[in-house]
Amino acid sequence: MDYAIQTIISALSLGSFYALGALGIGLLFSVLRLINFAHGDFITVGAYALIVPSSAVTATLLIGDFHPALLVLCIVGIVVMLAILSYFVVFQHAQKSSPATMMIISFALGYTLQNIIVMIYGGRPKAAGIWSDLTGQVQISSGVSVQLLQLVTIAVTWILLIALVLFLKRTRVGIQMRAAAEDFRMARMLGVNGKNVIALAFILSGGLAGIMSLLFVTQTGVLKFSMGVPIMLFFFIATVIGGMGSLVGSVVGGYSVGIVSVILSAILPEELRGFRDTCVFILVIIVLLARPQGLVLTKAAKERV
């Protein structure tokens, strides 16, 4: 029983992390048909922003030493700036391209960002711990102890989700964004400023990436130029499984992928455990075939003739 509770909490925490990432991708896909492969690298940039830019072997914290509130503000600010910049410099010029071409463009952007990081900080992994007290264990009842960070991840995710829902349902721009996600051309004809909506989607997506880079660095304590790639792949899977372009779908997909991976590692026999990732990717192909719109349907997902 205790083991089950611990497993459930780690599944929920991993699921929350994936849900936040999938949401960052889903937001952009819903308004722009863009699968942003650079999202993982936005997270990497946010993580590297914590330390002094240099190629020295040991990292010196810069923003990482600030007061926590200021730290969050700075990192989120930096990643949001990067996201906005990537819209105005890159993606704005590519809005008429096909989704697959935009996917390659984001791939190219991510590759460039990674190598710029190598240029500035060097290619070797660096240790950079922040908020190390969060990685300790807490006792929640006799026999059950979980990592504090897992609880924090779940809490942060739900606070952000509720804030996002309120924003989308209650504010004027939020409603415009939902309209644009439903039918971009129609929304524009009814007076929604397409550029603003897309820029806003980049801001929100960048903000989420900023928060995630903090969660991720706290968890791992290591900076690596390619650290964004593997997690990005799981966000991407989550978006596909949940349903491209549906925000609810992204969250559902994120939790499904997180829970399925934790369950698979718990139940797969020892010799097959290594093949967990393979199973998850095959699951993606099955979902694409059996339910191409994803678990959650949107009106915009249907392809028109």
Binding site: A100, M103, I105, F107, N115, I285
Partner: protein
């Protein structure tokens, strides 16, 4: 004389783009060979092996319009399948103890091994394509990507056959500029004829309008699957060549970086033309080589590390944003002489 429409001349004109590309490559290889520069010869060999991959990618992407992120999976399959047959005959059971007895005790000649590796890749493509090629548009691209990731993850863990994440070596360095040229030429010729065959035409019809082509009786799924299998065969062979070029392979050398480099080469040249595929490989190989030399430093001047990668990324972005049809604009090499427009019209643009 040139204007005269003799059968011979018409034939030369028909094969013109293919002939020019092959002769161009031949001249490059002969020129590099005559300088005797070993480092230059290595760059050239790598470029030619990549050319096999990129031309195969063109055969699929250019004709079907589906951007595949999955073809490097076939390169991976081909590289390991070749290693099973040729690598390290005395220590093979240490690296890959799970192999069947026949493979543990016998080695094939490299040419046969590379050919069989291509066949294995084609066979895997047949099975995977049976599912993935039913998808269209972005879903198909995602499907190929998921397939690649699944296979990459499996090979990384399949330690009894692939030695897991560690290196399999040594393999004989049999891939020389000349042997790589032979494979590149074969692939270019195959791509040229495939594009002009009824299957190539049918596949391009599905690319331009899937629904109309269906209505005209094209089996969309079948044509895509056929193309997927054929191109997987060439990618598998490229994997074998690559293994015998670097002499030591790890699963990690066939990851997203290789996907990115090969796709960039195709995009930079022009996704829908054979000339584009070849030109893209040549141009990016030269750019990467020049930037690498500058990174290493000439005199007191040197560029920071990973300039080559940043350079490739930026070139790729600029081309995608401002010239999406690539350097060649998706056109083939023109027939340079005056002549009948009606027969050369089809040559200029197949898109």
């Amino acid at each position: 004389m040139i204007e005269a429409n003799t059968p011979l001349l018409r034939m030369v004109r028909y094969f013109w783009p293919m002939v020019v590309l092959c002769i161009g490559l031949l001249i490059i290889v002969a020129a590099v060979d005559s300088t005797g520069d070993i480092i230059l010869a290595q760059t050239l060999t790598e470029g030619l092996v990549r050319m096999v991959m990129v031309v195969a990618l063109y055969m699929f992407i250019g004709n079907s319009g589906i951007i595949s992120f999955g073809h490097i999976a076939f390169v991976l399959i081909g590289a390991y399948a070749t290693a099973w047959q040729t690598c390290c005959p005395y220590t093979r059971d240490m690296f890959m103890p799970g192999l069947p007895t026949y493979l543990l005790n016998n080695s094939h000649h490299v040419v046969l091994a590379v050919f069989l590796a291509g066949l294995l890749a084609a066979f895997v493509a047949l099975i995977a394509g049976f599912a993935i090629m039913r998808l269209s548009g972005i879903a198909a691209s995602i499907g190929t990507f998921a397939f690649f990731m699944a296979l990459y993850a499996a090979y990384g863990r399949w330690s009894t056959w692939t030695s897991g994440g560690s290196t399999v070596s040594p393999m004989e360095e049999t891939t020389t500029p000349w042997s790589a040229l032979a494979y590149a030429v074969v692939t270019i010729v195959a791509a040229f004829f495939y594009a002009r065959s009824r299957w190539g035409l049918a596949l391009r019809a599905t690319r331009d309008d899937e629904i109309a082509s269906k209505a005209a009786g094209v089996n969309v799924f079948g044509q895509r699957l056929l193309s997927f299998v054929i191109t997987a065969f060439f990618c598998g062979m490229a994997g074998g060549l690559y293994a015998h070029f670097v002499a030591a392979i790890t699963v990690d050398s066939f990851y997203l970086k290789m996907v990115f480099i090969t796709l960039s080469m195709l995009v930079v040249g022009g996704m829908q033309s054979l000339t584009g595929a070849v030109v893209g490989v040549v141009v990016l190989s030269v750019v990467i080589d020049v930037l690498r030399r500058l990174e290493a430093g000439i005199g007191s001047f040197s560029l920071p590390t990973s300039s080559a990668e940043v350079g490739v990324g930026l070139i790729m972005l600029l081309i995608l944003l401002f010239r999406p049809s690539g350097i060649t604009g998706n056109a083939e090499i023109y027939w340079p002489f005056k002549g009948d427009i009606s027969s050369s019209g089809a040559m200029k643009r197949q898109s």
